[in-house]
Amino acid sequence: MSTPASLVQAGHDHAAAAVARVREAAEGVFEALREVRDAAVACVLPAGGTRRPVVADLAALRPLLWARLRGGALPAHLPAHLPALIAGIGFIAAPGLLADAPWYLEWWQENPSGDPVQLLRDMDPASSAFYDYTHWDWYAGPSSGAERTICGPYVDYLCTDEYSLTLSVPVLAGGSFAGVAAADVFVRRFEAAVLPALREIPGPAFLVNAEGRVVASNTASRVAGSVYRGGPRDGDHVVRRVGDLPLSLVTATAGGPE
């Protein structure tokens, strides 16, 4: 049975609206990261770059980081309806950047019962089995040149124990890579931000990351965390890139399975 052309058109419109919504939500976070990046550049070039930066130089980032955590005001030019998504935000220094700490994160997390808290972790691979952070995608992406990285969804057992996305951008100072500006967004909050738009799409629709991991979905058969292994044109699905972000919206073709 063929689907009436008007319904097909309505499906396309809703899919385009969902793509716009996802883009808006992600861009809001990247906008905050660009601010952190610009502020971090000033911090890591102290005294006009005439001496090496130290941990204390990064304290100047704190007012901005606190303001961009959930509950903080969004930059004035962003749409007011954007939900505050950021649960953790900060600057991750490239190993060896700082004169007084080979490994360092200036990382702050929201705290429902008060002021934001700084992440407490021993990041030195010599004493901790865990965190050579250069292996994590949120660091490896920007350090190998990616303009915008979206890592996850993944279980963030380093900081929050939550199912999270980490968005990150490179920080370049004086022409060389100095570290990463990054923000954590809980999957459940990202879902809340985009589900109203996904729900409007008549058939099954889900958002996947560059690897095919489902980030949010309007169907229980493709819930967040599952994997979509189809290609960009596998016949049953239409795949729409979300701007130039590493995210795609997948919808079932009208009359296709699911």
Binding site: G114, Y157, Y163, G212
Partner: protein
């Protein structure tokens, strides 16, 4: 506003907050996120970083001292240091468990580790699998280093890497709850369960099981991943129970 009213609206410093700090630090110590012997930041700095008052922090440190997980030295070069209590005398800790309790721990852990491994196989992508192999290669390198034989430092590193491997498998399941449970079980019994590493004698056998788990996860073979992950935990549990039964009271 009078002082009493101000106090009403001051930040809550309940015992719950102490418990949160204790659990966060105890879990981190037990699974090696905070390394044995590592010096903690000063009380003022730690309180500031955790966002709690120094009173709360001191209470939490006292609780950790009582558990033998933190040692505080006074004077020059003093401060609070991390202690891995089971590392001091694991057999004393083992004596505190009845064989029946160990069996029950093993059952619970096998259920969590088995399910986590099955889901990891069904859901993992190459970026989830790569860390598993990296950890296993690191373990082999530690065990093979000529200076490793019998060294307490090599054993401690192997234990930490072993913990990391199992947490990475759990995280690959995409389940935050299973990952948290894996971390909690490791905190409860991990240091004992991986006792075979003492002396490195059991490394080859353990390493083979780890590689079988990683391989099944990589192939996407959920049933095989579950089976080998369960067997891995149950073998370790049986070894532990045998050790316990030979211990005189």
């Amino acid at each position: 506003m009078n002082m009493a009213r101000l106090a009403v609206f001051s930040p809550v410093d309940s015992t719950a907050r102490v418990d949160v700090v204790v659990r966060r630090l105890a879990d981190a110590i037990a699974v090696g996120l905070l390394a044995d012997g590592e010096q903690l930041p000063s009380e003022a700095e730690l309180a500031g970083r955790l966002g709690v008052s120094t009173v709360t922090l001191r209470e939490a440190l006292m609780a950790l001292r009582q558990r033998g997980m933190v040692e505080t030295r006074r004077g020059r070069g003093g401060g609070s240091f991390v202690r891995l209590p089971a590392g001091l005398d694991p057999l004393a800790r083992l004596r505190a468990f009845a064989a029946d309790e160990l069996r029950d721990f093993g059952d619970h852990y096998a259920a969590v580790a088995g399910t986590a491994a099955r889901l990891a196989a069904e859901r993992s992508l190459p970026s989830d699998v790569a860390p598993l192999w990296r950890t296993l290669d690191e373990m082999d390198a530690v065990a093979a280093a000529p200076e490793a034989a019998g060294s307490a430092e090599a054993c401690a590193r192997l234990r930490r890497l072993d913990g990391r491997f199992h947490i990475e498998v759990a995280a690959a399941s995409q389940s935050a709850r299973l990952t948290q449970e894996e971390i909690r079980l490791q905190a409860d019994i991990g240091p004992l369960l991986w006792l075979p590493h003492e002396g490195l004698s059991g490394h080859d056998e353990t390493a083979a099981q780890h590689r079988a788990i990683a391989g099944a996860v990589e192939r996407g073979d959920g049933e095989q991943a579950r089976a080998v992950a369960e067997r891995h935990v149950l073998d370790a549990t049986r070894h532990l129970i045998e050790l316990r039964l030979r211990l005189r009271e």
